[in-house]
Amino acid sequence: MILRDAIDVSLDNLRQSRLRTFLTTLGVAIGVGSIVGMLAVAIGLQDNLYAQLLRTGFFRRITVWAQGAGGRGEQQQPPRQIDENAILAIRQIPGVKLITREARIPVRLQAGEKTVNTQMTGVILDDADEAIFTDIKQGRFITSNEAREIVLSSQTAKTLGFIDPAAAVGQMIRVRVRVDRPGAGFGFPVPEIPVPEPFELKVVGVVERERALFGDMNARLVYAPQAVIEEQVQFFQTRVPMIMAMVTTWAPLQVRLNDARDVDRVEKEIKGLGFRTISVSSIISNMRRAFIVVDMLLAVIGSMALVVASLGIINTMVMAVLERTREIGVMKAVGAEDGDIRRIFLTESALIGVAGGLAGLLLAWLLGRAMNFGANIYIERQGFRAETLFHIPLWLVGAAMAFALGVSVASGLYPAGRAARIDPARALRHD
């Protein structure tokens, strides 16, 4: 018997008892719908949370130090310096988008009569970085890597005479690099050091605290685009490279990735090169692990309905076998093999599974749309942006269909086996 005939015969059989077929299929649909619905809500919420976290850019970043620099590194290999070669090696790792290394130089700031000595830190803006500076007190953060702008800490602003930090925003600040000549003032003949011309930057914002994540906690730090600082570094490098090497502090390397999911792998590779690293990837993997547990739990709860539906299929099919005993006898008498009969009944339960699976997906989708709609009305009323809370990924569609098909074929095994074993002589015995 060819498959097409098996399907024809099965469809014909299913049409014979429409109501029963419908109810059984509905059972499967509710089962599939409950699994898909549960998982879709969970996945939607998790995706949302995940995306919001990823948007901050934290998760796409690895901070790299020289081995042993922090003291506690295990030193089984000689400590490797962060130099041009190291940067080149890290750049080779797939997934790496950008490597930045912020510099810090000592500066003297002047606003009117008041001056302050502090460290100016270079900032390299990444599309997602602004979120790090959540504590901008006044104004805004630096807008571009080329801007002639400066962000003060509130402490610096106060020292420069702006009691109200808001007054600092929009003011021009004069900046001069500080170079202390070693030995000067003790009567030694110290050569004059060429100093770059002071320049002006516009205050665009005031932060409450220093960005605390990976830097030190100097409350007096101010920020300018890295390009501004590199201009100064270059001035010295062409003239007195020694001096600049002394006064410039290089921050740890910041390795930015295209995709947060690569963090684990890239971090491992950088460690393999002999550097110390820090990332927030462990947070992500913990989060993912928790999500998987929650998803599985929900899937198990959702599966209960499908278990009940499976009992429905078994019941329906056993009934069908009993009702069609004589017909099975006829089919065997005209040459059907046991396998043909089994195939017919398995095809019937498979068809119920496929129809139930499709209907269940539709059910879940409709339910999800309704939930999205309802939830978003509430969310928008609370003043938040509407979100997709319900998401059915393609793999879930595939998995749900495979599951529905698997469960219904498994449910059909016993009835189909019973049908296949029917003795034709007994089935056709007339009374």
Partner: protein, 229 residues
């Protein structure tokens, strides 16, 4: 002529509670290709049991049942199904048509299991219905057909896969005498035209008279034999 069927000491026992019923108790017979044989006997004589064994619907308890020299007693279940599908065609007293299928679809059924292409099934089923005189009734369901018509459909179905042997079990048992005569005439015609071997089970001497040879069964044994008069 070639030998089609041979049984040697064929036995079929049933267990009824603690006692054993010997439905067939040592039947030995032979049948030539193209022969028309009637099995006669009263109810319970074992004639239907014998027919079921020849038809591959049941297995003997003991003895040999040779069809074209191959012993059915040793067939696997798949070989038994192939025997039912290709070698024999069965006609029953209660027709055993599938009620919700049309006459044409009922005749097509054996060809589905023989995996004949759909076009050929349809064509051959239509031809067979025409041969049994039901050309205009192909689209009717069994409930819309008279008893005689239903039995004609059943005969057409039995012939679908061109079996070597047609088996009929009390095929006129549910028909009035006029219709029965028509069905018998049809069988005789098929036998004459197609040269098909036929084994007919009946309790009715007049019906058996269409056969070339008559075998009388009683208590599971062949008690006598008569050639056509």
């Amino acid at each position: 002529m070639d030998q089609l069927l041979q049984t040697v000491n064929l036995q079929r026992h049933y267990h009824m509670g603690n006692s054993v019923v010997r439905a067939l108790d040592g039947v030995s017979l032979e049948m030539e290709e193209g022969e028309f044989v009637a099995l006669l006997g009263t109810s319970g004589s074992g004639k239907s049991t014998l027919l079921n064994l020849v038809g591959g619907m049941d297995r003997p308890t003991e003895g040999a049942l040779l069809f074209r020299g191959r012993n059915l007693a040793q067939f696997t279940s798949g070989e038994m199904a192939a025997h039912r599908r290709r070698s024999v065609g069965m006609v029953f007293q209660s027709f055993n048509l599938i009620p919700r299928k049309t006459a044409l679809e009922n005749v097509m059924l054996p060809m589905i299991f023989a995996e004949k292409p759909p076009g050929e099934r349809r064509r051959r089923a239509a031809e067979l219905l025409e041969r049994v005189g039901l050309a205009g009734r192909a689209a009717h369901r069994p409930t819309e057909l008279s008893g005689g018509e239903q039995q004609r459909v059943a005969i057409a179905r039995a012939l679908a896969n061109q079996p070597e042997l047609l088996l009929a079990d009390e095929l006129t048992g549910n028909l009035d005498s006029r219709t029965a005569a028509e069905i018998l005439a049809l069988l005789r015609g098929l036998h004459r035209e197609l040269g098909k071997s036929m084994l007919l089970v009946t309790h009715d001497e007049r019906i058996a008279s269409v056969a070339q040879r008559r075998l009388y069964l009683s208590d599971g044994k062949i008690v006598s034999e008569a050639a056509a008069t």
